[in-house]
Symmetry: C2
Subunit: 390 residues, 2 copies
Amino acid sequence: MFEFKIKKSAKDSLARTGVFNTPHGKIKTPVFMPVGTKATVKTLSQKDLEKLDAEIILANTYHLFLRPGEALIKKMGGLHKWMNWNGPMLTDSGGYQVFSLAQNKEFSKNTNFKTTVKIDQNGVKFKSHLDGSNHYITPEKAIQIQHDLGADIIMAFDECAPADSSKEYFKKAMGITHSWLSRCKKEHEKLSKKHPASKQALFGIVQGGTYKDLRIESAKFVNEQNLPGNAIGGLAIGEGKKTMYKMVENVIPHLDLNRPRYLMGVGTPEDLLECVDRGVDMFDCVHPTRMSRHGAFFTKTGRFNIKNEQFKFDKNPLEKGCDCETCKNHSRSYLRHLIFENEISGLRLMTIHNVHFLLNLMNEIRVNLEQNTFKKFKNNFLKKFKHKDD
Amino acid sequence: MFEFKIKKSAKDSLARTGVFNTPHGKIKTPVFMPVGTKATVKTLSQKDLEKLDAEIILANTYHLFLRPGEALIKKMGGLHKWMNWNGPMLTDSGGYQVFSLAQNKEFSKNTNFKTTVKIDQNGVKFKSHLDGSNHYITPEKAIQIQHDLGADIIMAFDECAPADSSKEYFKKAMGITHSWLSRCKKEHEKLSKKHPASKQALFGIVQGGTYKDLRIESAKFVNEQNLPGNAIGGLAIGEGKKTMYKMVENVIPHLDLNRPRYLMGVGTPEDLLECVDRGVDMFDCVHPTRMSRHGAFFTKTGRFNIKNEQFKFDKNPLEKGCDCETCKNHSRSYLRHLIFENEISGLRLMTIHNVHFLLNLMNEIRVNLEQNTFKKFKNNFLKKFKHKDD
């Protein structure tokens, strides 16, 4: 179980295709994982995800811990049974959400909850963004919750320092993240021995902000834990694309070739191509599903917004030649109307197209890697794909 | 075109099965028509409606007239092409919405639009509930809009008097409705001659409040117009079920046997059974789709709300044995979570079940009518179906 087989490595790039084995099936890499925050990929049913050929989906520990609580999900047979999703799943540790949602000043202003987050060596004390209730999560607790949820891949509990922190703070946060990783590993081993039927793979997370030396130190430490996969966290939070790519370049050489590398929270078409090229195997991002609900959509020539006046009388599908359910059935003109009216059917149809676009892009990436044409494919794609504001 | 063939008439009831021919296919009656207010049945795609075997769907003239406007829809090839719905369609005339939405005091309070509605013999002046803009709709205009929209069945423009009006007012409103019906008919004939390719059937609407003599007078007048179908309007607005059934009983004998009878705005399971029994062939109602979005669902033992604590750990589908997509795939426990989190996927899954429930009920009604077991089926159903508050 959790064997990672590299199928094909590019000669002119760090990119590779592979297969990661999980108790719920094989994941073809490189892979984009749609995010199902509250045990549902927003607007889609699990039938939709099957039709979209999603290899694996995510759920968020923070949200499910607060509501409905991991005890309910455990009682219902775990996430897979409860959701009726029979493919592979991954849960994050809740670390990122504790530090982002609970620290969200904008949110705090709207709700009058004081969303203080207090970190010590042992864990994190925070208030729920839903009702201000007090919670305390330790690395052990994060693993216990994820064992109750029962996803195939679970993540270590890490401290995600704010992007504007000092190097000193990043170093301290990295130290905490490393000590928490050791505790997560220990707790995971303990629980796995206790329940040998439950098969889950724990991934560690590299931190260190935008500091090369910290990132390398962290990559080495995480890699040494010999877990089934290694993740890179704390990027895609405003450091800029070039810096993000640079950090990936710094980290990748220190993560074993024969284990999957997961870049957390990254998922625009250009980032997927650039980071596959740099040796990343797994990605997730809420952006593609979130942007769908605001009317934005991907095409091979860039990103557009359906609300734009130019689409008012447009009888074309979102993208000509696209074989998603949305493009096979509906025009831009009709979808524009649905989005303007905030019709739920429209939000779903836009999401179907954008998730299809990204999963199809990953498929094309894999096919081109197999055929030794990845670099050419990447360059052609990026030449045509003009990122536009929406 | 627009031929109505009665297949089977019950011996112990006014109920019958039939087939109504339209340019977009045959409608098996008795039929329940899901409402697609803004050219979409809320939460569902047209693919979903196909899978649900919807015989015909509705769209609302008032909403589409205000946004995006009938000119856009005409330019896009009409409602069918624009929505990509290839089955039969019906548009209402906008009459009901002008008098209900534009007169909505609750709405007026929230928006500060003075939603005055001024009726004269010629037409209705009203302010849009969206932006307070001024509009004037005459019977001719209502028909012109519906010709631009292009549904198979279109409705006459009528005055829907508030339920608490005096008999004198109902009589006056009925007189206006009758004179408008003559004008609608004339305009429809004029436009149909001008565009012989456009094939649409105009239905007249019986009004008269809860006054037997007015209802009979109105039924006679409407029936004499010899239109392809007759509708009963202005009920289901708070007069109570018994009164509503009584009014249907008063009207039906005066509407020709060999033309379909459409009871507007009625669609609970018990009302469908009672009014089929009284000779009604067509129904529509927003309630089943609206209640879905509030977590309510139908079962053969009555109506429940998924938010109820009793469903928290319930691994059963909404209804055992139901073969809708929702029941085949998801438990009450999971759906309860989705509805509590206001997840869009949950709103759609609840809608799929409730629309399936009603369409399946209509199918069972038709089958039992064919087999001469309708009365027995109706009595058994109503004995088990306990309407519960949600």
